[in-house]
Amino acid sequence: MNATPVLTTKAMAIGYKEARRPPRQLATNLSLTLQAGELVCLIGPNGVGKSTLIRTLSGMQPPLAGGVELAGLDLTSLSAHERSRHLAVVLTERISVGMLTAYLLVSLGRHPHTGWTGRLTDQDHEVVRWSLRAVGAEDLAGRPVSELSDGERQKVMIARALAQEPVLLILDEPTAFLDLPRRVEIMRVLRHLAHTTGRAILLSTHDLDLALRSADRLWLMAMDGTLIDGGPEDLVLNGGIEAAFRSERMAFDAESGSFRLSTVARGTACIEGDGLAARWAARALERAGYQLLPDCQPGTVRVTVTQALGSPTFAAQRGTDSRQFERLQELVRWLDSQDGGRVELQPMRTALRQAVEARNDPRPE
C-alpha cells in the first residue's frame, strides 16, 4: 500500500456557528490523514460530533478553524463541481422517488463527468455497469429504487457514489437500519473496494463490533472532543475504546471486544469444562450478574459443563443444592429463583413469575 494522503486536516476545529453567540465547538485541533486504499471507521458515542466531522470533511460545512486538504488542495477553495469529481458521499437521508430505476439512480453519479445535458457516453455506461458490479448490485439494475429493500438500496447508493469515480468516499452511517447479515455484507463490499481500487473510504458507524473487525484504522471520538486514531486492536489494548464509551450502565470487555451490560453483582461463579458450550455458559452467568472466577472456591456457584453426543449438559451446584440442566435459560431461571428474583421489583416479579409458571406448567411440582 503506498502512502499517498488523500485527505489531510491541520489543526482543524469543527462545530457550528451560532447567531449572536460564540461558535459551538465540538472538537478542536484535529490533525487527521486518510491514505489511499484504506478503510477508516469513525466511531464514538452519540452526540460527540461524528456527523459534524463527516459533514466538514465532505465540504458540506466549513471548519471553524484550520483547513481540510483534498489531494493537496484546500477543500473550501474548490467549487462544488471540482469537489464532486474527487469526493463522493453516501448520506443518511432516504431517497424515495418513484419510477427511478437503480440503473438511472447510479447513472446520476456520472453528473460531474457529463456535459450540460447529462447525456451518457458509452464510457459513462461502462462506469455505471462497473459500479453496479463492484457492489454486487447488477441484478438490481432494472428494478425501481422504491421497491428495493434497505440493504439493496444502500448498495445502489454506494454504486451511485462510485460512479462519480471519487478518490475519497465518505459514508454517514451506511449500516444503520440494516440487519446483521446486510451490515456485514456492506462492510465487506466497502473493505474490498478500498483494498482493490485504492480509494480511501471513511465511514461513521455505531457498530463497534463490525468496525473492530473490518476497519484498517479507527477514529475514535470521545465526549471531551478528542479524537484518537489507531489500529482497532491497539485501541482495545490501550483502553481507548473503553475510555470513550465508559458509562455506568455498560462496560467494554476487552476480552471479547464487545460491550457487557453492568448488572448488579449477585455473587461469584466458576465454570468447569471447556469448549463452545462452556464459553456460552460463562456468558449466561455474566448476563445473570455473576462475576466469573477462574478457580472454584467455596461459596461460588459451580457449573460443570459436560458434552455428551453433541448436546451439552450443565450441572449447577449452589451451596448444598445441585441440579442438572439441558438449557442455559433454565439454569439462569433456577439461579434467579434461588436468589429470590432480581433486586428491585422483587414482589412483583415473584408474583408475575408464579403466575407465568403456573400458566406454563400447570402440573404441581
Binding site: S58, V89, I95, G98, L104, L108, H111, R129, E138, D139
Partner: protein, 364 residues
C-alpha cells in the same frame, strides 16, 4: 441460457432497450398531438371537414369563405394557445414537483396564479360597470391587453417576493411561504369582490373559468415568445432537475450549484405559469396531472424524457380539454377549468392509487 448470462445481457442492453421503448411512445404522442390539433380546428359550433382544414392551413381557401375565416381568425389562434399553454403548464408543474419533491406541487404552488388573479381583479373590479362588461365581451378592445398586463404584473410581483425568499430559505419553507402568499393574495381578491357590484364580479369569475379563446393574433407573439423561452430554459435545466431527484444534499455533492439552480427553476416555472395564467386565466390540473401521466407511461423519473414528454402531453391534453369544453355541434361552451378538473382529477387519483409502494415519505 442461464440466469446469470441473462442478467448480464440485460445490464448491457438496459439503456438501449428503454431508449427504443421511449421512442415508440414519443412517436405515438406526436401523432396524437397532430390529430388533436387538426380536430380542434375542424370541430366546434360549426363542423368543417378535415380536408378543408388542411387546405386552409396549406395557405389555400376552403370551399366556403366562412370556414377560412373561422379557422384562421378563431380556431387557429385558440389551438396554438392551447398547445403553448398546455406545454408550459405541464413543464412548469413537472419542475415544481421535482424541485419541491412533492407529488402535488403545481404552478399555483408559488402563489403565482394568485398574483395574476389579484392583477386581474384589481383591473376588472375597479373598472366601471360598462367597461367591465366590454372588457370580456369584446376581445379586441385595448382593455384586454390591459388585463393581460395587470395579470402579468400581479404574477411578477408575487414572483419577485418568492425569488427574494428563495435566496434565503430552504425548499420546504419556500413551499409553505408560497402557499401563504397565495392565500393572502386570494384574501385581498375576496375583499375586492365583496365591495364590487354583480357585473364586475361576473366579469372576474368568467376570467377564472379559464379560456384559450381570448388570445388574438396580436397578442400571440408575446405568449409564444414567453412560453417558448421558458420551454427552452427547461431543457437547459434538465441536468439540474435530475440531480434534484435525490434531494439538495446529493445534488450539491454531485457538483450542482444548488442556490443558482433553485433560483433558475423558480424563475422558469413562474415565467411559464405566469404567462399562461395572464393570457388564459388560472387553468388547473394540467400542471399536476400531466407529469404523473408521463412518469407512468414512460416508467421513468428521468427529465431528459419527462420534459419533452410533458410538453407534448400537456399540449395534446389542453387541445382535448378545449375540444370537450366547446361541446362540438352545440353553441354552448363549458368553463375550461371544469373540463381540466374532470380530466385531471381522475388521472391524479389513478396515478396515486396504482403506485405500488404506498409507504409514507412522499415517494411519487
Amino acid at each position: 441460457m442461464t440466469a446469470t448470462t441473462e442478467t448480464h445481457a440485460s445490464l448491457e442492453d438496459l439503456p438501449r432497450r428503454s431508449a427504443a421503448l421511449s421512442r415508440v411512445a414519443f412517436g405515438g404522442l406526436v401523432v396524437a398531438l397532430v390529430l388533436a390539433f387538426l380536430l380542434s380546428l375542424a370541430l366546434g359550433s360549426v363542423q368543417i371537414p378535415l380536408d378543408q382544414v388542411v387546405r386552409v392551413l396549406a395557405g389555400g381557401d376552403a370551399a366556403r369563405d366562412s370556414w377560412t375565416k373561422i379557422v384562421l381568425t378563431y380556431r387557429l389562434p385558440k389551438a396554438l394557445t392551447a398547445v403553448l399553454a398546455g406545454a408550459a403548464l405541464a413543464v412548469s408543474g413537472l419542475q415544481m414537483q421535482t424541485f419541491f419533491r412533492n407529488p402535488l406541487a403545481d404552478p399555483s404552488i408559488l402563489g403565482i396564479n394568485a398574483g395574476a388573479s389579484l392583477g386581474v381583479a384589481a383591473v376588472v373590479l375597479s373598472a366601471k360597470t360598462v367597461a367591465a362588461n366590454t372588457l370580456l365581451a369584446n376581445l379586441d378592445v385595448p382593455g384586454h391587453l390591459g388585463l393581460v398586463a395587470s395579470a402579468t404584473i400581479g404574477a411578477a410581483l408575487v414572483l419577485v417576493v418568492v425569488m427574494v425568499l428563495a435566496r434565503y430559505v430552504n425548499t420546504l419553507t419556500l413551499l409553505i411561504l408560497g402557499m401563504m402568499i397565495g392565500y393572502l393574495t386570494n384574501a385581498v381578491v375576496s375583499v375586492l369582490l365583496y365591495f364590487s357590484i354583480a357585473d364586475q364580479v361576473r366579469a372576474y369569475v368568467s376570467w377564472t373559468f379559464g379560456s384559450f379563446a381570448s388570445v388574438t393574433w396580436r397578442q400571440m407573439p408575446v405568449l409564444a415568445v414567453a412560453s417558448l423561452v421558458g420551454l427552452c430554459l427547461a431543457f437547459l435545466l434538465i441536468k439540474w432537475l435530475n440531480a434534484f431527484l435525490l434531494g439538495e444534499g446529493y445534488a450539491q455533492s454531485m457538483g450542482m450549484p444548488v442556490r443558482r439552480a433553485r433560483l433558475w427553476v423558480v424563475i422558469n416555472s413562474a415565467l411559464l405559469a405566469g404567462t399562461v395564467t395572464a393570457f388564459c386565466g388560472p387553468i388547473g390540473f394540467l400542471g399536476v396531472a400531466v407529469p404523473h401521466l408521463c412518469r407512468a407511461l414512460w416508467g421513468t423519473a428521468d427529465h431528459r424524457i419527462l420534459i419533452p414528454a410533458s410538453a407534448l402531453m400537456g399540449a395534446a391534453l389542453a387541445l382535448l380539454a378545449d375540444l370537450a369544453a366547446q361541446m362540438p355541434g352545440s353553441a354552448t361552451v363549458l368553463p375550461l377549468n371544469a373540463i381540466t378538473a374532470l380530466l385531471g382529477a381522475p388521472v391524479v387519483i389513478w396515478v396515486i392509487l396504482r403506485r405500488t409502494p404506498m409507504r409514507a415519505g412522499g415517494g411519487w
